[in-house]
């Protein structure tokens, strides 16, 4: 009986050493170690016929054989795995095939531009507010110090609606809305669509986008506006860009200033992009006019503030070298994809 066990062990060990696949190994394992009908369990079944004195010794021998076989099978498995990994490692792949991008979507470049502006304003403690595009004459004009019959209304040729309301010609209409509906201090930016009665061409659209920044508190001064605008221009266009404040006129600010950023194409020397001036117009700004503060119920002796109106489309055009404003609204898929 013991000889049979020794023979089985020798035979199994010899076969295991030659096996090269997992399937053959599994087959051998079942054949030898299987619970039902395995060679070893058949050997165990002989145990019952043995005299009691030999039983213990035989049982020990069976277990020894089993351990030896198991060890041999495990070693064979380790050998097979090693070969497999070596084979795997020997493969080379062409990693230069294009990656599979399942779907390509993206945000419009105007939203990306706005997001960048919003990031900057928020980093300075400002919050975003949105408002209606259909506005009353009061918020669009009267509240921002442009009374009826004032020639300043001509500069913003406005669309009117049947009930006397209008399409806001500027986001400055949000100034008094924000001042009235929130307690001071106010630090907001109000982005949105605005409308002017213009024909559509490369540099004009009857719908475009503005961002109104407004900071009203005790002690806010023109120097704050200068610092803010200079930092914003650097944030949007690069650390090497300079800003210039040019006196200007807006009904709702006093003093008023146009903010220019140095031309990035010619570094301020003068080129076609900047029409030879070395400067690009960024937007209008100034200290909130006392009449606007009064219209909002603020005492101009106690409170002061600045307002800064930016063109989202213009910023995007300057940053991305887009020369035709219509490009934004045509939504050509090839355009959208470039900025996705």
């Amino acid at each position: 009986m013991s000889d049979q066990l020794a023979e089985l062990e020798a035979a199994v060990l010899e076969r295991a050493a030659k096996i090269t696949t997992r399937a053959d190994l599994e087959m051998l394992r079942t054949e030898v170690l299987g619970r039902k009908g395995g060679a070893l369990s058949r050997a165990m079944s002989g145990l019952a016929k043995l005299p009691p004195a030999e039983k213990a010794e035989y049982g020990r021998r069976v277990n020894e054989t089993k351990r030896a076989i198991e060890a041999a099978l495990d070693a064979a498995l380790a050998r097979i795995e090693k070969t497999e990994i070596q084979g795997d490692l020997a493969r080379t792949y062409d990693t230069t095939f294009p990656g599979n991008t399942p779907r390509s979507g993206g945000l419009h470049v105007l939203r990306q531009t706005l997001d960048d502006v919003v990031d900057f304003f928020r980093s300075r403690g400002f919050a975003v507010v949105l408002g209606p595009e259909v506005e009353t004459e009061y918020y669009a004009f009267e509240a921002v110090n442009i009374p009826a019959d004032h020639p300043a209304r001509d500069n913003m040729d406005t669309f009117y609606l049947p009930n006397g309301s209008l399409l806001r010609p500027h986001t400055s209409s949000m100034q008094v809305r924000a001042l009235k509906s929130n307690p001071p201090p106010i630090a907001i930016l109000a982005p949105g669509r605005v409308y002017r009665r213009d024909a559509l061409d490369a540099s004009h659209s009857f719908m475009f986008h503005q961002i109104e920044g407004l900071h009203v508190d005790r002690g806010v001064n023109f120097g704050h506006l200068k610092g803010f605008a200079a930092d914003l221009c650097r944030h949007l266009f690069g650390a090497d860009r300079r800003t210039r404040f040019r006196p200007s006129y807006f009904q709702f600010t006093e003093p008023s200033a146009e903010v220019d950023v140095s031309c990035g194409v010619c570094a301020g020397r003068g080129c076609q992009t900047c029409k030879g001036t070395g400067w690009l117009e960024m937007g209008g700004s100034g200290m909130v006019h006392p009449n606007v503060l009064r219209a909002s119920g603020y005492d101009p002796e106690g409170f002061s503030g600045w307002a800064f109106g930016l063109g989202t489309d213009r910023i995007a055009m300057l940053r991305h070298d887009i020369h035709d404003i219509r490009t934004f609204f045509e939504n050509d898929p090839r355009f959208l994809e470039q900025f996705a």
């Binding site: 779907r103 919050a127 595009e133 201090p185 907001i188 040019r246 200007s248 939504n331």
Partner: protein, 814 residues
């Protein structure tokens, strides 16, 4: 406004080059948009034609003898527009002038003048035309004829008082004083630190009665009128130097009288008007409102019926002009005029502006008068015109006037501390006062100091206006920059946050964001109506559109996005996905599509219902195998659900709901609680076809106002501690039973053990009986207190199936 540097130099003493003057004006708020350099060829002098004779060998040439002071030159010329005794510009030998040939690539060719012989006759110089000297404006081809007081032999550019450059200055609308050469000169002088000399004019008043009186009929229209008659002057030749300056300012030269009124308006800012005195009836002109139905024929020959109250100047026979806006034909000056009557008026701005708008006559005069010019200009303008007329040989009458006289100078009190507080600066009161003195703002005292306002600065009304003058005068670039972060806000950013979150979700799902124009017209409407489906009936219409594309505000984002889709689909080689976020507009009480409750984000206080909307479109190439389950519809639904779940995890129900632009069998609402938060469906095939889109086109809209603006903070639910099990079943039900019906019933009957139910497939075909369908469900079961046993799970499945049997007569498909 275009102004020549030489004209400015009549009032500023400076040698500064044009670029420097331009910089100074720009820094003071008068942005110079362009500098037209005036080339000034050398060796051009004033010559007098002494004699003219035929060229012996050429019919088309003349031989002239010209006196240029230092010598007499023989010059052969082909020009014929001059006579003996005329003064003309002569290019001497050595001069380089411009060729008459048209310029190639913008660079004009030049012509060097040398001694020559033309058909055997010596010619030692050239008579110049305007184009050879590159003078501004339009001229005919002839030789320039100079004024008869020109000095023979003098340098041409000095003689015509012109040169250097013409500046294109952008004057802000609150500074009518700088719509004048004098005003700009004052600002330039202040910026350059150069002396400024205001014009000192005599009264030029004769003693004779003009025979025409002036009257103010309506003081709400006209504040002051001055009038003066001039004899012995017609609408003759304008001095050459004056026509040069007018042309440099982009004003055409149209005869002496018209030119003088334009010249004085440009120089002083005061609009003037000349009448033929012989055509004024009744011996007076009066400024008044038109009577109802009064008629005037204006200078352009148009007969206009005036609305009652329109400001007019009338004589005894009716209106002779629309006040300050446009002259009338009846009393206009012409070639036969020898007696003129000058009107120098001051009108009230608002009525002039209203009338000009109503008549569609936005003339230069109207745009000046509507800014409420100072009374003091009336006499200044009259005196300057009189000076020029007298120089042209006219004899002035006495001056007649009516209306208000100028009052005393206004003054504004300024606190230096306030100046520094608003500007963030630390100037001394003296620095402030010194800075504004050069522009005529004299001050008294120091804290506060009192500024006396010169008459021309009608824009200065309160302390803050002087603060701007100080800032502007010292220079915005000198104000220090300060940095400060604003204190945290109580402002609600929700609407913007919602936009951003949703846009990012759809972008991540493969949708490209579009921005379309929110106004539409017949193009938008007819593109939609090609489908045979009705366009929205009630639209918010624009009262004053400029073009057909601006007729109404979009009632929905869908039409605009469909148009974008047409172009995108044309080039697509796979699925196309687009979305847009923007406001849509309906008239209040529009009923063709009832809107669920208006809450945050919607605006209706302006008589128009306006609310933010999100619309998406997805288009797919045709499928090869048709399947009963529209997996693309479900993909689009999944994109919408994913976006909604970025804002809320409340249970989302789907309810079929037809919309006129969707396929009637493939349209549904997504509902949270009581509110529809989105709708989605397959685009109506007729609509898809009208926009050249594939049948597999799907659309969705989100009701942003019914969605939370940001995701609420979630409470953590402990992870399951015991393993669960899942069972897949397929049940056969009637066609009208929906997946939602079955999953709801499973959940209800499965009780606590039922963790989730999901319908994942649908089958119709030979294996199920006709008129029925099979729906496959995946049911997850779990106990919270122990590992679920097979027996537990079997019992739960038994309950679930029994429920489906009772409710829907469902049978298990095997």
């Amino acid at each position: 406004m275009h102004v020549s540097i030489s004209w400015l130099r009549d009032f500023v003493t400076t040698d500064a080059p044009p670029a420097r003057i331009a910089d100074v004006l720009t820094a003071r708020g008068f942005t110079v948009d362009g500098i037209d350099e005036q080339p000034m060829p050398e060796h051009i002098v004033v010559g007098k034609i002494l004699s003219l004779s035929r060229h012996p060998n050429a019919d088309r040439l003349q031989v002239s003898e010209v006196d240029i002071g230092s010598e007499k030159l023989q010059i052969v010329t082909g020009a014929t527009n001059f006579a003996v005794g005329d003064f003309v510009p002569i290019a001497k030998i050595g001069a380089v002038v411009f060729s008459r040939e048209p310029s190639a690539d913008g660079v004009r060719k030049t012509l060097a003048i040398g001694a020559s012989t033309l058909r055997g006759v010596a010619s030692n110089g050239m008579m110049c035309s305007a184009s050879e000297l590159a003078l501004p404006g339009e001229y005919d081809d002839g030789i320039v004829i100079l004024d008869s007081d020109a000095v023979v032999g003098s340098e041409f550019w000095k003689s015509v008082r012109f040169g250097d450059a013409v500046l294109d200055v952008d004057v802000p609308s609150n500074r009518p004083d700088c719509l004048s050469v004098i005003g700009l000169a004052r600002e330039a002088a202040a910026g350059l630190g150069a002396p400024f000399a205001a014009p000192k004019l005599d009264a030029f008043e004769g003693s004779g009665d003009p025979g025409i009186n002036v009257e103010i009929g309506d003081a709400t229209i006209c504040r002051r009128l001055e009038g003066q008659r001039f004899s012995g002057v017609g609408n003759g030749r304008t001095p050459f130097w004056m026509s040069l300056r007018l042309k440099a300012s982009r004003v055409r030269s149209l005869g002496l009288l018209v030119d003088i009124s334009n010249f004085v308006q440009l120089e002083t800012g005061q609009p003037l008007h000349f009448y033929d005195a012989s055509k004024i009836g009744g011996g007076r002109i009066v400024a008044r409102g038109a009577k109802s139905g009064e008629i005037i024929v204006t200078l352009d020959g148009v007969e206009r019926v005036l609305a009652a109250g329109t400001p007019v100047i009338a004589d005894g026979d009716g209106p002779v002009g629309i006040a300050g806006i446009f002259g009338g034909q009846r009393a206009a000056v012409d070639e036969s005029t020898t007696e003129v009557f000058l009107e120098s008026p001051n009108f009230v701005g608002a009525p002039i502006r209203r009338a000009a708008l109503a008549l569609g006559l936005r003339t230069e005069g109207a745009s000046r008068h509507e800014k409420n010019l100072p009374l003091e200009l009336v006499d200044l303008g009259r005196r300057r015109a009189a000076q020029l007329l007298v120089a042209a040989g006219a004899k002035p009458s006495a001056v007649v006037s009516a209306g208000e006289s100028a009052g005393p100078a206004r003054s504004i009190k300024v606190r230096p501390e306030r100046v520094n507080r608003l500007l963030g600066w630390s100037l001394l009161a003296k620095e402030m006062c010194d800075s504004i003195a050069p522009i005529g703002l004299s001050t008294e005292g120091s804290d506060p100091f009192v500024v006396s306002i010169p008459y021309w600065r009608t824009d200065l009304n309160e302390e803050v206006d002087i603060i701007e003058e100080v800032a502007r005068s010292i220079g915005f670039d000198k104000i220090p920059e300060w940095r400060v972060a604003a204190s945290p806000q109580s402002v609600n950013e929700g609407l913007f946050v919602q936009d951003s979150v949703l846009a990012r979700s759809f972008a991540a799902s493969g949708y490209a964001e579009c921005v379309t124009i929110a106004l539409g017209g017949s193009k938008m409407k007819s593109a939609w109506e090609r489908s045979g489906l009705p366009f929205w009936a009630k639209l918010v219409e624009v009262v004053n559109p400029l073009s057909d594309d601006q007729r109404f505000l979009r009632p929905s984002l869908l039409p605009g996005l469909l148009t974008v889709a047409t172009r995108a689909w044309e080039r697509a080689d796979g699925a196309v996905r687009l979305f847009e976020i923007g406001h849509v507009f309906r008239p209040l009480a529009s009923s063709d599509e009832p809107k669920p409750g208006v809450s945050s984000g919607a605006f209706d206080e302006n008589g128009v219902l306006e609310w933010p909307s999100l619309c998406g479109l997805a288009m797919y190439p045709p499928l090869s195998a048709e399947e009963s389950l529209d997996r693309r519809l479900l993909e689009v639904k999944g994109d919408v659900v994913r976006a909604i779940e970025t804002l809320t995890r409340e249970p989302l129900a789907t309810a079929p709901a037809p919309r006129f632009y969707f396929h009637p069998g493939a349209a549904a609402d997504l509902i949270v609680g009581d509110h529809t938060v989105a709708k989605f469906g397959r685009v109506h095939p007729l609509l898809a076809r009208a926009y050249d889109l594939p049948a597999d086109t799907y659309a969705f809209m989100l009701y942003l106002e019914n969605l939370p603006q940001r995701r609420p903070v979630r409470t953590f639910e402990p992870l399951p501690r015991f393993p669960g099990t899942t069972r897949d079943i397929a049940v056969v039900v009637a066609e009208n039973v929906s997946a939602q019906d079955l999953t709801d019933a499973c959940r209800a009957n499965g009780g606590e053990l039922c963790e989730s139910v999901r319908a994942f497939d649908e089958y119709r075909g030979p294996q199920v009986e006709g008129g029925k369908k099979s729906i496959a469900l995946k049911i997850a079961l779990r106990r919270k207190d122990a590992t679920i046993t097979d027996a537990d799970a079997d019992a739960a499945m038994e309950r679930i199936l029994a429920g489906l049997r009772d409710r829907f007569a469902a049978t298990l498909r095997t």
